[in-house]
Each structure stands twice: as structure tokens, then as C-alpha cells.
């Protein structure tokens, strides 16, 4: 178990400024959610997959997204193929259960949508360091207190994962079985890891708060500066405006002219 998605490369995507990366994530996600037409979703997905391939993301990172995409994809497909009643019945599976004609394009559309959402997140985490993520949010006027909260979560997740693994291994070395046992036993043994892990974590609160205050941090009442001020180049601005414009155009076409829709009245 690890939480380390950033892939250090020097690609065009890596060189985008932090706010552009955040806008990229938001706009591609919202675009995927707006569109029901599987052809458009497929186009978006192919574009993002090519982008992801160009990054040469290691399997240890992409496997996480691949796995969740597969599992949720199976549930989604079952849901849309066998549990949607849109259009006319196409195939009769057994008594009362049909596959409807619009279920097939909708299944494809939602599947492509799911994978588009995952791929855009994969690209985002692969090209964005933690400090860039925070800087990007800051540049988009997210209050600094919230940015600091996010920064602390990102700072502590790898440490907590490490400590969890250490405690788990220590307990297993004391013959605590965690895998080949009934579920109820596994839950009990799980507590033997969780309790010390939580105690260690909670003990940090006082020291960390003291350390932050001792370094002059005030939530309000004192203007702060920033060491890294991300440069937003002309190219970044074009990209941001382009992505926002694309989203707005698709939104307008869908809302007022009914494009990209199979089932009106839903995302």
C-alpha cells in the first residue's frame, strides 16, 4: 500500500502551471459528466489515454486506477445493461428481464465516462507534485487555511501508511494472523493494529499545532507571502480559456440544443 503517484518526467504536461493542471482536472471531469454520447466520451477517453501513455506512468501507479476502473466498470455495466429500462426491449434474457436497445450505448457511454474520469485523475496525480497542487488551488483563490489542511493531509498520508505497515508487520511477527482467517477474527485482529496506530497519530496533534504556531502562522490578521509563485504563461492562459470554453460550448449545446444526450433530464 503506498500513496506516491507523482512521476518525475520533463513532458509538456509536466510543464503546465499548477492552476492549469487543476483546471485541466476539473474541466475534463465536468466534460465527461456532461456528455452521454458514447462516441464523444470515447474520443475524450482516447485523447486522455494517449496523454497518459506519453507520460510512461509506471505500472505500480496505473495499476491502482486500472483495478478500480475494472471493478467499478463491472458493477456499472451490470447496472446499465440489466437494470435500465430505456428505449425498446431488444433481447429477452429470462422472464421479465430484458436488455433494452438504449442500454447498450448508455452502458458504453457510462463506462467510457468512468474511465475518462479515472484517466484524467491519473494524469493529474502523475504530473502534479503535492506542492503544485496546493499552489494551484491557492492561485484559484482557495483560502490558505484550506490549502494548508490539504497540504497536511498529503504530508501525513505517506507517514501513516508507513506506520500502519510497520505496526502490521510487528503484530504479525507476534503471530497475529490477518489473512487466512474468518472475517470476524480478522476484524478483531485489525483492532490490534488500529488502536496503537491511532494513539501514535493523535499524539501528534499538540506538537504539530505548536510547531505551526511557533513558526508564526496566523489564520487571519497577518498577510502572508508565498515563496513559490507559479508562473502562468500565455500558453497556460490559452489552455485554461480553451478548456473552460470547450466546457461552456458543450454545456450550451447540450442544454439548449439537446446534443450529446441519449436520455434527457439526467447527466
Amino acid at each position: 500500500m503506498a500513496y506516491d503517484f507523482y512521476v518525475a518526467r520533463q513532458t509538456v504536461l509536466h510543464k503546465l502551471s499548477p492552476p492549469t493542471k487543476v483546471v485541466f482536472l476539473l474541466s475534463t471531469s465536468l466534460l465527461a459528466l456532461e456528455v452521454q454520447d458514447p462516441r464523444v466520451n470515447a474520443l475524450l477517453l482516447v485523447g486522455l489515454l494517449l496523454g497518459a501513455l506519453s507520460l510512461r506512468i509506471p505500472w505500480r501507479v496505473s495499476s491502482i486506477f486500472f483495478r478500480s476502473g475494472l471493478i467499478v466498470g463491472i458493477a456499472l455495466s451490470i447496472s446499465w445493461l440489466f437494470f435500465s429500462k430505456v428505449g425498446e426491449p431488444l433481447y429477452r434474457l429470462w422472464d421479465g428481464i430484458y436488455i433494452y436497445d438504449l442500454a447498450i450505448p448508455l452502458t458504453l457511454s457510462m463506462l467510457f465516462r468512468l474511465w475518462t474520469l479515472l484517466t484524467s485523475t491519473l494524469i493529474f496525480v502523475a504530473i502534479t507534485q503535492e506542492s503544485e497542487f496546493i499552489a494551484g488551488l491557492r492561485k484559484l483563490k482557495v483560502p490558505y487555511a484550506l490549502c494548508l489542511t490539504f497540504a497536511l493531509v498529503l504530508r501525513f498520508m505517506p507517514l501513516l501508511i508507513e506506520e500502519y505497515n510497520q505496526i502490521r508487520e510487528a503484530q504479525m511477527a507476534r503471530a497475529l494472523e490477518l489473512e487466512k482467517i474468518p472475517l470476524l477474527e480478522r476484524m478483531k485482529h485489525f483492532m490490534a493494529i488500529i488502536v496503537p496506530w491511532l494513539v501514535i497519530s493523535l499524539k501528534r496533534v499538540s506538537t504539530l499545532s505548536a510547531a505551526i504556531d511557533s513558526r508564526g502562522f496566523k489564520i487571519t490578521g497577518r498577510p502572508r507571502t508565498f515563496f513559490h509563485e507559479p508562473d502562468v504563461s500565455l500558453a497556460d492562459w490559452f489552455l485554461i480559456l480553451g478548456l473552460v470554453g470547450l466546457f461552456a460550448a458543450v454545456f450550451a449545446l447540450r442544454t439548449w440544443m439537446g446534443y450529446f444526450v441519449i436520455v434527457p433530464g439526467r447527466l
Binding site: L152, R155, T225
Partner: protein, 289 residues
């Protein structure tokens, strides 16, 4: 005569909800450029005293505070720790619990951003403190990937970046290996000797502390049991034994020798003193140390 940089006057404190006084009538001064060692067993009140000196008590940790603490003329009851950050820095025992950012330079820059320094000044101070703490090559590294000694040096650098006059180090070496301990205390010594930074050092490793302190106090159950120079402090073996404070090994050796009739008028507390003592005894020097 210049006034002391830190004045602790009749300080008493008990934590909210507690009946026990963590500190009772503590009184001492610290002059600019001094290194004060604070010693005592666990729960003696050392950390509480440290937190009183930078305003964390009473602003962050509530309780009943009586008496006063003044640092560089600022009363800590009336000044928040955030405003004292440019006067007094603090290093805690556990390195991981005091890091906020995921890169060394961001960690060090955090404090400077908080006080509103412009980026070019942040860069200048960053370079300086990285050089002082010998961390230049680790600038972009995540602090969690450094060794214990390096982590504490990052903590020191982060505090130093705000140019405090005082640095409080609360058991900075307790979780470090011997190399890490030496690294951290060497930096502390250099900061004091070369840059005149006043240091408050809470340390169980008396051997290492003895080498740098100018004065020491012993706390016991929240009270000051002793204040004095290192030779007075480490010469008071009975007190140190009673308070569960480990003697430096050279002091133990000297004490043992004095018990066996060797003429020792002053117990050594540094390696150099111990070495000189043994040399004089072995060469049957009739002018004992």
C-alpha cells in the same frame, strides 16, 4: 548592566483540569548569548517550562498561569506565540511531528511566508540556513526521507530562518542515534559560539550537554532545585543521583576516584577535563585538577 534576555519571575502553572502544579515558583534569568541547560527526570516540568517561554502556554495550552515570563522585553501572557516566532524558536523532541511540508525548502520557507517576507529575502535566508545546518544538498528532498539527525537539522533551520534571538531545544536528540545526537548538538554549539544565539537546552544526554552549557538548572516536581555553573552542577553528585539525572561518564569516573582517596578538588564534566585529570593522576601530578 544589560537586562536579561529571558526573565522567568515566580512562574507557576497547572494544566486545566489538573490539581497538580506542573511548575511552582520558578525563577531564573538568561542573558543574551548564554546556553542554559535544563535537567530533571520525566514529568519534572521541563517541557512545560519550555512552552511557557515561547507563549504556547498560556495561548495554546490552557491552564492557570501565575507569575510572568518575559522574552526580549515581551510578556508571554500578552504576546501570542505567532508574534514571538521572530524572537524565540522551538525544536521539539519528535522530528516527524513538527514537519508541515513535503520538501525541505518548503518546510523552511513556511515560517518566512507566515511573517510576510518577500520571495527574494526568503531565498536569501533559505540559502543561509541551509548552509549553516549543512543541508544544501537536501533542499528538494522530502524531510521524511532524511535521517533523524538531518530531520532535526531541518527543524533547526526552519526556526533559524525567522532569525530568533533564542532557540529552545526540548530533548532534540532523544530519538536520534549517536551520530545524529552529535550533529544536532554541534550545530547548537556553533549557533551559540559563532552567532550569539541564546540556547535553552533540555537534554538527558548530560555528557553532550555538559560540553556546551554555560549554566544549568535542575527541575524537580516543577520546582528549581538547583541553579549554577556546570562545575557546580556536575559537582553536586548527590543531588543529581537523587533527581535521577545521569552523570557524564567522566564525572562518574572522577567521583569514583575521589571516593577511593584520589585528590580531586573539582570533578570533570567534559572529555577534555577528564582526560587532563587522568593524565595528571597517572603522572602523579601533585597539583590536582
Amino acid at each position: 548592566m544589560t537586562s536579561p534576555l529571558i526573565r522567568v519571575d515566580n512562574l507557576s502553572f497547572r494544566y486545566e483540569g489538573s490539581e497538580r502544579w506542573a511548575l511552582s515558583n520558578v525563577r531564573f534569568d538568561v542573558n543574551e548569548g548564554e546556553v542554559l541547560g535544563i535537567f530533571g527526570r520525566s514529568e519534572a516540568g521541563k517541557t512545560t517550562l519550555c512552552m511557557c517561554m515561547n507563549g504556547l502556554i498560556p495561548h495554546d495550552l490552557e491552564g492557570d498561569l501565575q507569575g510572568s515570563v518575559e522574552v526580549a522585553g515581551q510578556n508571554t501572557k500578552r504576546t501570542e506565540p505567532q508574534d514571538l516566532a521572530t524572537i524565540v524558536g522551538i525544536i521539539f523532541q519528535e522530528p516527524e511531528s513538527q514537519f508541515i511540508m513535503t520538501a525541505v525548502e518548503d518546510e523552511i520557507a513556511f515560517g518566512m511566508e507566515n511573517i510576510g517576507l518577500p520571495p527574494n529575502e526568503i531565498e536569501e535566508r533559505l540559502r543561509l540556513v541551509l548552509k549553516l545546518t549543512k543541508l544544501e544538498q537536501y533542499r528538494r528532498k522530502p524531510p521524511r526521507r532524511l535521517s533523524g539527525g538531518q530531520k532535526q537539522r531541518v527543524a533547526i533551520a526552519s526556526a533559524l530562518a525567522l532569525r530568533p534571538k533564542i532557540l529552545i531545544m526540548d530533548e532534540p536528540t532523544s530519538e536520534l542515534d549517536p551520530i545524529g545526537k552529535n550533529e544536532v548538538l554541534a550545530i547548537a554549539k556553533e549557533l551559540n559560539r559563532e552567532h550569539n544565539i541564546t540556547i535553552i537546552l533540555v537534554e538527558h544526554e548530560t555528557e553532550l550537554a555538559a560540553d556546551i552549557i554555560d549554566r544549568g538548572i535542575v527541575l524537580s516536581e516543577g520546582r528549581v532545585k538547583f541553579q549554577g555553573t556546570p562545575s557546580e552542577l556536575f559537582g553536586n553528585v548527590e543531588l543529581l543521583n537523587r533527581e535521577g539525572i545521569f552523570l557524564p561518564e567522566v564525572t562518574e569516573v572522577g567521583y569514583g576516584l575521589s571516593k577511593h582517596g584520589f585528590p580531586i578538588t573539582q570533578l570533570p564534566f567534559t572529555f577534555q577535563q577528564g582526560s587532563a585529570l587522568l593524565q595528571s593522576l597517572l603522572t602523579k601530578d601533585r597539583n590536582p585538577v
